[in-house]
Amino acid sequence: MSDWGWVAFAYLVVYGSLGGYVASLVFRIRRARAEADRG
């Protein structure tokens, strides 16, 4: 793999993981709110 390939791989892992964590937080909050609303 080229130098830039390694760099792209690293940034993909970082930004992809952060994006995934944000998405998981959004879904978990939505689900918890729905559960709380159901009482």
């Binding site: 390694w6 760099v7 892992v13 964590y21 918890a32």
Partner: protein, 238 residues
């Protein structure tokens, strides 16, 4: 600052850090591989900060008994585990082309991995304890003891001779890094810190809802239990 403002600021700074990290001149020795450090070092810094905040939240809970501090400790630990995982992953991705191996049993690497697993255990402990107060108290004790690792991880590169380089910026003499590269590094640190703050605020929102669900569930159990076990007022004793 509202949550939305903080989140927009975090997204903007993250994008800026990405552009700066990919456009600054390459390092004289490492070339473009150095760019991975603009994500690796901020992730490692955030691990320290997040677990330090977990310790502060834990101490504050034990002093005040307010669950808000426990929620801060738990939220910060979860976000800290994400950043510690990123520090380990980016370190491995950098290590393969530069050191020739994905992993080596260097003190800094081993201690960082140990810290990662200790805080995974902390999160597992939080999920495994019934009762908000009991959970808060036990995880606070865990959170304080676990934070003893932070200085050990940081100074491991000074105390033990290994492959990992010693501190570049946080060192007694002048920082050993050129201006534009230092700017890219500090930009990453600042952006990741704002992202951390935005994530912890959202995670605390979630923790508040989860705690209210636990309390509602416990209250429901108490009422159901009372209906089954308590004799009704008008019942005749047998």
């Amino acid at each position: 600052m509202t949550k939305r403002t903080l989140e927009f600021a975090a997204a903007g700074l993250l994008l800026t850090a990405l552009v700066v990290g990919l456009t600054v001149p390459p390092d004289a020795v490492q070339g473009d591989f150095q760019r991975i450090m603009y994500a690796h070092v901020p992730s490692a810094w955030l691990a320290y900060l997040a677990f330090g905040i977990t310790m502060i939240g834990s101490i504050a809970y034990l002093v005040t008994s307010k669950l808000r501090w426990d929620r801060l400790a738990g939220a910060s630990a979860e976000v800290g585990v994400v950043f510690t995982g990123l520090a380990l992953a980016t370190g491995m991705i950098w290590g393969k082309p530069v050191w020739g191996v994905w992993w080596t049993w260097d003190a800094r690497l081993v201690l960082t991995a140990a810290m990662f697993f200790v805080y995974l255990a902390y999160l597992a402990l939080r999920r495994g304890i019934d009762g908000l107060e009991r959970r808060a108290k036990r995880s606070a004790l865990f959170g304080i003891v676990a934070a003893l690792q932070i200085p050990i991880v940081h100074f491991s590169v000074v105390w033990w001779r290994g492959l990992h380089q010693p501190p570049t910026i946080l060192r007694p003499d002048d920082p050993q890094i050129d201006g534009p590269l230092l700017f890219a590094l500090l930009m990453g640190v600042f952006a990741f810190t704002v992202v951390y703050a935005a994530l912890v605020r959202r995670r605390m929102d979630l923790a508040l809802i989860e705690d209210s669900l636990v309390e509602a569930s416990r209250a429901g159990e108490d009422v159901a239990g009372a209906a089954v076990t308590a004799p009704s007022v008008g019942a005749k004793p047998r």
